[in-house]
């Protein structure tokens, strides 16, 4: 069981089509739904909703903020079958979760692989989405990804706390941004039997190479094609940490060019001395820009 983090709203559970889903919900007003990155079965890192601990409560003063553990990540149940170890299953679960909460059109914030999930929701279910915020998403961007160049084979035992810290320190501009509470949340997930099962499936059983990555590659091709065709028809803002070595600035600029060709309400923001996690590395700057964007694109009369 994860420790209770003072900076997070109280955790809740929701059964989403048979998947026990952990989520955090606070505040009132226009709903912002946060989708973190990574995927199930990664052996040295494990994102959870706690990734947003610097953002939820500060923004809850003005908005309803919702963060949830994605399919097979954090405390949420693993996919029901091997064929569901796909990004599409993650997208479908996120859609079902938002629908189960009965939210009006939401402001989606997606980081890294979560940016891909958020963009797919905006493309597949535009009526569910009011705006889209993408943060350092190499998965959604065209060009060469460099995660593996930077993060492969940590110099510590696989799945250890030290390996996890090493991974996140290499993601970030400054190691000081990698706080103990963050690594606590990651390590507790890494140790859980449920998560270990997904690691076994993705690595030893080879679901990563057989199922997850090929399906993601097909879906990414389709997604970029859809964006190029102008199907992303919601206000978009793209954040980028200037010093991210895993998803370099040029990839963000290229994504911005693709989106902004078809859509007027698109912005691009770069934050200095930030790696892959600008919302954790500089939360005050990130929160100020996100709050203004959401407020500007709230519904008629400022209603959600």
């Amino acid at each position: 069981m994860l420790a209770s983090f003072a900076s997070m709203p109280e955790g809740r559970w929701l059964n989403v089509d048979g998947i026990q889903t952990r989520y955090y919900d606070a505040g009132e007003g226009a709903p912002i739904v946060f989708i973190y990155g990574g995927n199930f079965g990664m052996k040295d890192s494990a994102s959870t909703a706690h990734t947003w601990s610097c953002n939820l409560m500060p923004l809850a003063h003005r908005f309803r903020v919702v963060a949830f553990d994605k399919l097979g990540q954090g405390l949420t149940s693993n996919p029901k079958c091997d064929d569901d170890y796909t990004m599409q299953a993650v997208v479908d679960h996120a859609v079902a979760f938002i629908q189960a909460l009965g939210l009006p059109p939401v402001h989606l914030v997606g980081h890294s692989r979560g940016g891909f999930v958020a963009a797919r929701i905006a493309l597949e279910h535009p009526s569910m989405v009011r705006t889209l915020t993408v943060v350092n998403s190499g998965t959604l961007s065209p060009g060469v990804g460099t995660n593996e160049v930077v993060l492969s084979n940590p110099p510590y035992p696989a799945g250890s706390r030290e390996a996890a810290r090493w991974v996140y320190e290499n993601y970030c501009y400054s190691p000081a941004a990698v706080t103990d509470d963050w690594i606590d949340a990651v390590y507790e997930t890494l140790q859980s039997p449920k998560y270990q099962e997904s690691v076994r499936k993705m690595t030893i059983e080879g679901l990563a190479e057989r199922v997850f990555l090929p399906q993601l590659a097909r879906q990414k091709r389709e997604t970029l094609q859809w964006i190029d065709e102008g199907r992303l028809q919601r206000p978009v803002q793209i954040f980028w940490g200037f010093n991210d070595r895993t998803a370099v600035l040029e990839r963000g600029l290229e994504l911005f060019r693709m989106v902004s060709r078809h859509q007027r309400a698109v912005q691009f923001h770069v934050i200095n001395q930030s790696g892959h996690f600008p919302f954790r590395e500089h939360p005050d700057q990130f929160n100020a820009l996100l709050a203004d964007f959401v407020a500007a694109h709230a519904g008629p009369g400022g209603k959600p």
């Binding site: 200037f242 600035l249 600029l253 911005f256 902004s260 859509q263 007027r264 309400a265 698109v266 912005q267 691009f268 923001h269 770069v270 934050i271 200095n272 001395q273 005050d284 700057q285 100020a288 820009l289 709050a291 203004d292 964007f293 500007a296």
Partner: protein, 297 residues
């Protein structure tokens, strides 16, 4: 801009026009760009248009005019970027401000950044807006965007042409803006600036001052850095400068200043604060909040 007040400050023999809704010590100070007597449209405080109105809804905003523009007087010494920097400093001192957020467009970004370096106690942040002057010259390609303005120069039709040339879309170039530009061109300071720049030696003095300021800025950024938070705001379709130039401007400024942001305003040219008022003001106010909070905190 009904809430806007106007004041004419007598500064070292040069009357200087300032407009404001409220003079607060930590105000946002808008500084127009341009090249008096050279640029085929007359910039001035009027260039900020609805952005100024929008910003005044939630902040204390001061707009000042630089020597050789509008109703501000002319002084030959003032027509260099060093002169502009001294002018900005003197105006701020006279107004009694401290810790202001300078928002500088085009050429004015260079004196604003150097002023922040030389007098950081006076300035809490700088926003650089569409300033090709603050980007590397490199071995650039000649630009023809404003090469052949229709005559008579600085007439309403000529200035409308120039404003449309530097824009993404023409819609913001309304009669009110053109009339304000024409009023500025009819002021005595403009005629004197034109005569001043007609002298090749004096024109060279102005151009050289830009080169010197640019070199000094790059040295400062390389060695000690701009000591206050800085952001670069750029229109994606700026006919005068590419996004690549904008990113380089940001790279240079971000070298040694931790709090540095970069923002692209979509479907805007060289006057993004006119073409995308809401998007521009949101970015500006979010940065202003962060820097003001840090100053207090």
């Amino acid at each position: 801009m009904s809430a806007v007040q106007h004041q004419a400050l007598p500064l070292e023999g040069t009357v200087t026009a300032v407009w404001y809704n409220r003079i607060a010590r930590d105000a946002i100070v808008l500084i127009h760009g341009g090249q008096p007597g050279l640029l085929p449209y007359c910039s001035g405080a009027h260039i900020w248009g609805f952005s100024a109105t929008r910003l005044m809804e939630s902040a204390a905003v001061i707009m000042l005019e630089l020597p050789g523009t509008g109703t501000t007087g002319f002084s030959a010494d003032g027509l260099t970027l060093d002169g502009w920097k001294n002018h900005i400093r003197t105006v701020l001192q006279q107004l009694g401000t401290e810790n202001v957020h300078l928002v500088a467009h085009d050429t004015a970004a260079l004196p604003a950044l150097l002023l922040a370096h030389d007098h950081p106690h006076m300035i809490r942040a700088v926003t650089v807006v569409s300033s090709v002057a603050a980007t590397p010259t490199g071995d650039g390609v000649e630009k023809f965007v404003l090469a052949y303005p229709p005559t008579p120069l600085w007439s309403a039709s000529s200035q409308r042409w120039a404003l449309e040339q530097v824009s993404y879309a023409h819609h913001h170039v309304d009669d009110e803006l053109v009339a304000a530009c024409v009023r500025s061109s009819e002021a005595p300071a403009h005629a004197r600036a034109v005569a001043h720049m007609a002298d090749p030696a004096r024109r060279l003095q102005w151009v050289s001052s830009i080169s010197r300021a640019k070199s000094r800025l790059f040295q400062v950024c390389r060695e000690s850095g701009i000591p206050v938070p800085v952001q670069v705001v750029w229109g994606t379709h700026d006919p005068l400068g590419t996004v690549d130039q904008a990113v380089w401007s940001y790279r240079i400024l971000a070298q040694r200043q931790p709090l540095a942001q970069f923002h692209l305003i979509n479907r805007a040219g060289a006057l993004p604060f006119r073409e995308e008022v809401e998007a521009f003001c949101r970015v500006l106010l979010a940065f202003d909040d962060v820097t003001a909070h840090r100053m207090r905190g």
